[in-house]
Amino acid sequence: MSAEKSTVAENLLRELAPRVLGAVVRRFRDFAAAEDAVQEALIAASVQWPEQGVPANPLGWLIHVAGRRMTDDLRAELARRRREAFVATETPAEEQVVPPPDLGTDADEDDTLLLLFMCCHPALTRPSAIALTLRAVGGLTTAEIANAFLVPEATMAQRISRAKQRIKTSGVPFRMPSDAERGERLAAVLHVLYLIFNEGYASSIGPELQRSDLAGEAIRLTRAVRHLLPGDGEVAGLLALMLLTDARRAARTTPDGELVPLMEQDRGLWDREAIAEGVALISDTLSRGSIGAYQLQAAIAAVHDEAARSMDTDWPQILALYGLLDRMSDNPMVKLNQAIAVAMVHGPAVGLERLEALGGDARIAGHYRLDAVRAHLLEMAGDSEGAVARYLAAAGRTASTPERNYLQSRAARLRGR
């Protein structure tokens, strides 16, 4: 098989995975079993298609294979329960292998959204929701997900299996949430996609480059949600935020895996195409009068990305956007970033005053980021000694190796002056 053929088949499988699963869950109403059956169908296809060619109706092929697997399991189950009343499904197992007539229409596209609502249900822990989303909606194998999160495959398999069990026991239905809970449920979906993106983006450095491209996967899934909900401002905002952040990926680290802060990045390495798409998306969304936390974060990322040189950054605009974000979120991390913008507009002394006030917030007091920002602002103010102490305090507290190296080297540079 050629690598190219293999990639084509792989991309197609990823795209079809949620639609196949949606169709099988819809017919058999057993999410956990359907998910297993679809995984097997996907694995069968990933072996057969590159060698024998993609079937004329790939979606139908996958639904048929997964459905056959479900039917086999149901038959075995029936045999076990021969003397019992079988109430799991209303239709005989034999009739259930026929693909539903509505294939290829909007119904199976909506299934992707139903699956996302199910996989990101608030009853699940976030690590479980992330794993389940990547497998059921993203079509990744358990091994790929385990590799991406650097845990043994057995651990990830158990996490997924437990998540499915949890969905079963908490009786989460396979249907659209009611209008009343829709906003909250969509927010949960977007949060999971955001976490997947962060995990991928954060780990895309140095020796971990080999890990699955979770950031790319998150963008792909968010694009799919955007396709289904084109009018939702926060969906567009999240997609724009991902594109505008991911655009800086190549500039974010040195070839040795050292972190390069935003203001010192080689902007020539930024992905212009991704920036253009992100900027167009967020501009269009904001022009419709929509507002939300992801949209504001995307707008801030857009202001950074649009500056040709770091000195051209429109800090007053960023400060205004953080003001809006702060009013709608009550998040100490937002206040921390806002303090940086304050320092850039009104000078480091004013920024440091903001940090003093923030130090009383138990949610962030003692967090290394507070010390890291304070160090930067002290450095800006010319207090090298104070900055060194804060850089080192931050270095001692971060759990990130590249960040620790960065903070240490920052302190070393100041001491050397």
């Binding site: 690590p127 651990t155 990130s400």
Partner: protein, 131 residues
Amino acid sequence: MKYMLMMQAPRAMFQEYYSWPIEDIKAQVAFMRRFNDELKTSGELVHTHGLAGPEEAKIVRVGKDGAPEVTDGPFAEAKEFLAGFWIVDCESRERAYEIAARASSAPGKGGATARIPIEVREVMGRAPVDV
């Protein structure tokens, strides 16, 4: 987030442990097996191992020509030894503390909770997102 949970024990406790009544040892082993199964089932266990006693512990330093220079100590100043460890991957720091408390609830001599201290350390890893 990944955390390493380290079960520390004073040197004297290792010695004492060998002379526990057999039913107390069995109860503790059963507890550890159950605890590890719970972590496996919850999909949070990355790795766990118990360590052999400190009697055979050696200190290794690089010697001439890069060869290992192995000595029996000195361990005199060491009050505590690592008895075993877990690496867990869980949702939050608070959840890691919960797991550690459960490990600390292992039964000791006589069946009562030994309240062995568990050191919890975050495993270094990925970079933060906003730099």
